[in-house]
């Protein structure tokens, strides 16, 4: 168990946080994504960052509703969140979800909420390069083949390709790229509210197509930066019965594993 203050608790003591950790619905409720939330919280705690969460005051950013076409619901969620964020005077936000990241960063300003928003892979890269996060040299991944899956909302949509790769390089991993990567990276199939529905009729599931590409690299670890990609890639690898050979991890988890050795 990790003790993470909420902004409400800090405010009661007239304190502020350096950064708000926006957990998101997946990070809060999805069992697999919860582990990523804990990994990130552990890293932030270890580097001594004063961070806080909103706890029950956080509601869905509205991304899936907006992309499904439900603008009304998006506006309701967004305006509620902006009220909360502004009430606490939040300036800087970190999140492990690329969809939350994109909506907070690119869409809330038009509704009156402007914050400095960074994705956790960017924060981790910053912490490593500034020396604040020390990678103890266990060499857990030395020479291990890791492939990195660009999420659409961090990669193509927000142009962040290098920070996550720099983190993997700092782990001494042998980074192998998939055929389609960076600007040409293939979607895992979950974006645009697809996460909440079945694929339309076709001849293959998108996540299986992407997982096949990851498997082709021969990597034993697929590194992801998004809770939805995490689910889709895990399911795709399972569909090929490779779940015992190939594992899917978020970058934050890889750092914890590296330092635990």
């Amino acid at each position: 168990m990790i003790k993470i203050p909420t902004l409400a608790a800090l405010a009661a003591e007239s304190k502020e946080a350096e950064i708000l950790f926006w957990v998101g619905c997946a990070g809060s409720y999805d069992a697999r994504a919860q582990k990523v939330s804990r990994a990130l919280a552990q890293i932030l705690t270890e580097v001594g960052m004063e961070f806080a969460i909103l706890g029950n005051e956080e509601v869905c950013t509205g991304d899936p509703a907006r992309r499904a076409g439900n603008e009304l619901l998006f506006q309701m969620s967004a305006l509620q969140n902006i009220q909360t964020l502004d009430a606490y005077g939040v300036k800087k936000i970190v999140t492990a979800c690329p969809h939350c990241f994109n909506t907070l960063k690119n869409e809330y300003p038009a509704l009156g909420g402007t914050y400095e928003v960074i994705h956790h892979t960017q924060l981790l890269q910053e912490l490593i390069s500034s020396g604040r996060l020390v990678l103890k040299g266990g060499g857990a991944f030395k020479g291990k083949k890791i492939t990195y899956h660009d999420s659409c909302y961090i990669g193509r949509i927000n142009g962040v390709y290098e920070a996550p790769r720099e983190v993997l390089e700092a782990l001494d991993a042998d980074l192998v790229e998939m055929k389609r990567c960076k600007t040409k990276g293939l979607c895992c199939g979950a974006g645009g509210a697809q996460m909440w529905k079945e694929d339309e009729p076709g001849d293959k599931r998108i996540n299986v197509e992407r997982s096949d590409e990851a498997l082709e690299t021969g990597a034993s670890i697929v590194a992801v930066n998004c809770p939805f990609c995490m689910t889709m890639m895990t399911d795709g690898i399972k569909a090929r019965d490779k779940q015992d050979d190939v594992m899917v991890f978020d970058l934050a988890e890889l750092i914890i594993q590296h330092n635990a050795q």
């Binding site: 168990m1 993470i4 899936p64 869409e107 193509r156 645009g192 509210a193």
Partner: protein, 440 residues
């Protein structure tokens, strides 16, 4: 003299008819909603220079990019020769620029010849790619019929244009020696000084004159044919790519267009804004888009700019895995619907106009719900387009119409909507939101 009159009348007629056709295209684009064009003008010109003029985005796939560049640069340079043809035609002179420009003339025409030869090869390569090689993106279902014919017609026209240039230059090289008074010296043309004698060396003067005139008229007639054909063809991109890149959105790619009308409504609901008087008596407006009138002019400009290359469809995860969605088809459908609407309006004797238009049809007669439901909003199509067309934007507008105006959509989305509305979470889970901090 007769030639001069025929040429002048024909040219004026072609310009008049083509001008009208291009005006119709403009009107079809203006069926869409006017939207403010904000942002940094410098950035917009940079897009025009790099992306349209400089073909920057083509080079993510360098083989077609190289061949396309050959045709494109040849097209640009041939405009100089075209200006001369127009001057010659109107004034009844021959090679107006040759004596004036001297050595530069030789240089310019030789450059055009080299580029034309490259374009000739490139055109043959494209014909082979389209018709023999079964390149996946060029043989999708939406390419059957007219789109395939359209593409081939353009390529054949290019072959004819180049044939015209080499016929007229080749014969000219020989005629310059036979009749220097009428055929001013062009200097040694890089290609025709070889191909002229090789192809036409055996012909007598009279036949050479005919070959030269045949080449000249063939070239200008194909140019005119092209001009008249463009408004009906996917090939409009040679013109519209420029305004299209200029007007392309400068907003962050991840930002969906905000809907201020909905925001106002929600603010009133949440008590963040005062209720506007009379709002409850007003009829509820349509949200999103189900026809061209509710799309933006930029969406329609995008549709008319699309040259159906299919780079978007080739990278679409839904299309790649056999779903019906094809971003290219979405753009083609929008264009076809705008054409249909414009035809119906024109045939209605002034009875129909954009404000009262109703033919019982909509974009949904072209684009199925299944197609728009398959989109993952991954932006691969947006990234792939060499001329900054955004196929995602209209897809999302159609989704908004379906959800907000029709109250339809995939049933599986309802629990997600309900959960966000009632529990503030995309999944209905009753645990406290910070449960994850305590579990291990």
């Amino acid at each position: 003299m007769i030639q001069q009159i025929v040429f002048s009348l024909l040219t004026l007629a072609v310009f008049f008819v083509a001008g009208r056709q291009f005006w119709h295209i403009r009107n079809k684009i203006f069926l869409g909603k006017a939207e403010p064009i904000g942002g940094d003008t410098g950035k917009r010109w940079k897009h025009v220079l790099l992306v349209a003029f400089g073909q920057q985005k083509m080079f993510s796939n360098w083989i077609p990019a190289f061949f396309h560049l050959c045709i494109y640069v040849a097209f640009l340079f041939t405009q100089i020769e075209l200006i001369e043809i127009l001057l010659d035609g109107f004034a009844g002179v021959h090679r107006f620029f040759a004596p004036i420009l001297g050595i530069f003339y030789t240089l310019i025409i030789s450059t055009i010849e080299v580029l034309s030869l490259l374009a000739f090869v490139a055109t043959l390569v494209f014909l082979v790619r389209r018709n023999l090689l079964q390149v996946p993106r060029l043989s999708k279902p939406e390419m059957k019929g007219w789109p395939a014919l359209d593409a081939n017609l353009i390529l054949v026209a290019e072959i004819l244009l180049i044939t015209g240039i080499f016929s007229m230059n080749g014969a000219d090289v020989l005629l310059q020696q036979l009749d220097p008074a009428h055929y001013p010296d062009t200097g040694r043309l890089l290609i025709s000084s070889f191909t002229g004698p090789a192809l036409f060396g055996a012909l007598d003067t009279q036949t050479l004159v005919v070959v030269e005139r045949f080449g000249w008229w063939l070239h200008i007639l194909v140019v005119y044919g092209f001009l008249l054909y463009l408004p009906f063809s996917k090939h409009l991109h040679i013109l519209l790519a420029f305004p299209n890149t200029y007007f392309a959105s400068l907003e962050p790619r991840g930002a969906m267009e905000n809907m201020p009308e909905v925001m106002q409504e929600v603010k009133v609901m949440m008590g963040l804004a005062p209720e506007t008087s009379g709002s409850d008596t007003d009829e509820l407006p349509d949200f999103g888009a189900h026809d061209v009138f509710a799309l933006s002019r930029l969406n329609l400009l995008n549709a008319y700019t699309c040259t159906e290359c299919g780079r978007c469809t080739a990278v679409c995860p839904a299309n790649l895995t056999g779903k019906k969605l094809s971003p290219r088809k979405v753009m083609m459908d929008i264009r076809d619907r705008a054409d249909e609407v414009a035809r119906t309006i024109a045939a209605s004797d002034g009875k129909l106009h954009p404000k009262n238009y109703d033919d019982g049809k909509s974009l949904f007669d072209y684009i199925s719900k299944e197609e728009i439901h398959a989109c993952t909003t991954c932006n691969a199509c947006v990234e792939a387009c060499p001329v900054l067309i955004n196929p995602l934007d209209p897809i999302l507008k159609l989704r908004r119409y379906e959800i907000l105006t029709q109250s339809e959509g995939p049933a599986e989305w309802l629990p997600m909507f309900n959960s966000i509305e009632n529990a503030g979470s995309a999944w209905a889970i009753s645990d406290p939101r910070d449960q994850w901090t305590t579990a291990s």
